[in-house]
């Protein structure tokens, strides 16, 4: 018997840690991984809410979990393309340091 709110708070904690990691990390792959962490936190929240909704309406609601399904698909695709981009950047600039990839500025 666990209050669903606890799951949500956990999701919030994981999300914030993901944001903090995004801000701290200098390796671009680490930054990417922090994004994955944030996505996972959100997945947890979705599933918790779908459970809550099932309990409110009284019968099984799976729409939240369908959403998570799609999130996973998109995360996979995004990870593939993103890592390919990182490889391309590495080939061009020979560095994985986020602070040194700053050409898109005024």
């Amino acid at each position: 018997m666990v209050p669903i709110a606890y799951y949500l708070v956990l999701s919030a904690i994981l999300f914030s840690i993901g944001v903090a990691a995004f801000l701290i990390k200098r390796n671009i792959i680490s930054v990417f991984m922090s994004i994955e962490l944030m996505l996972n936190a959100v997945n947890l929240a979705f599933i918790a809410f779908s459970r809550q909704w099932s309990q409110i309406t009284g019968h099984l609601q799976v729409n939240g979990q369908i959403f998570v399904f799609f999130v996973m698909v998109v995360a996979a695709a995004e990870a593939a393309v993103g890592l390919a981009i990182i490889i391309a950047i590495f080939r061009a600039r020979n560095t994985l340091n986020v602070d040194q990839i700053d050409l898109m500025k005024l």
Partner: protein, 164 residues
């Protein structure tokens, strides 16, 4: 019992996340992330999402994180150097993250009663439940995601190819 399981795996999640944050070498961060994902899979099970728990382990930990590990090893990413980046990230970012955490926690905990309690074993979402929705109501989006994956593959190949 449910609570004990929850607490254990929740602590594991947070610990892994913190380790991701604090480690200097990306491969350590990647492995920590795998720990987080696996713990999350257990938590999904506790919430009754069987299929998704399995998918989490197979897709996330098993495929995506492996991809990450491959790339880290391919690019031979080393320990992070301390470079001067943007102070702004710290000045604006940390308060932002802290505010997010505080705000969300406040929202969820203050409405604890509305969310109710989760019991183990109730409202289990089997694969057939999910597939019923996927292949009937959401067939088009499902097929579109396959196109999406195809495009992702093509994109990845095109981007990561060696220039001749």
């Amino acid at each position: 019992m449910h609570l004990a399981l929850f607490i254990v795996f929740a602590v594991l999640c947070v610990a892994g996340a913190l380790n991701l944050l604090l480690q200097r070498h990306p491969i350590n961060s990647a492995l920590s992330l795998i720990v987080v994902m696996s713990s999350l899979a257990v938590l999904y099970l506790l919430l009754g999402a069987e299929f998704l728990a399995a998918a989490q382990v197979i897709v996330y930990s098993g495929a995506i994180m492996v991809l990450f590990t491959f790339v880290i090893m391919l690019l031979n990413a080393g320990k992070e150097e301390r470079t001067h980046g943007s102070k702004l990230a710290y000045i604006a970012g940390f308060p932002g993250a802290a505010a997010l955490l505080g705000l969300l926690s406040y929202i969820f905990l203050s409405r604890r009663g509305e969310f109710g309690q989760a019991r183990l074993g109730e409202y289990l979402a089997t694969t057939s439940d999910l597939s019923r929705v996927l292949f009937r109501d959401l067939l088009l989006p499902f097929e579109v995601t396959s196109v999406l994956i195809l495009i992702a593959i093509l994109g990845a190949v095109a981007l990561a190819r060696k220039e001749h």
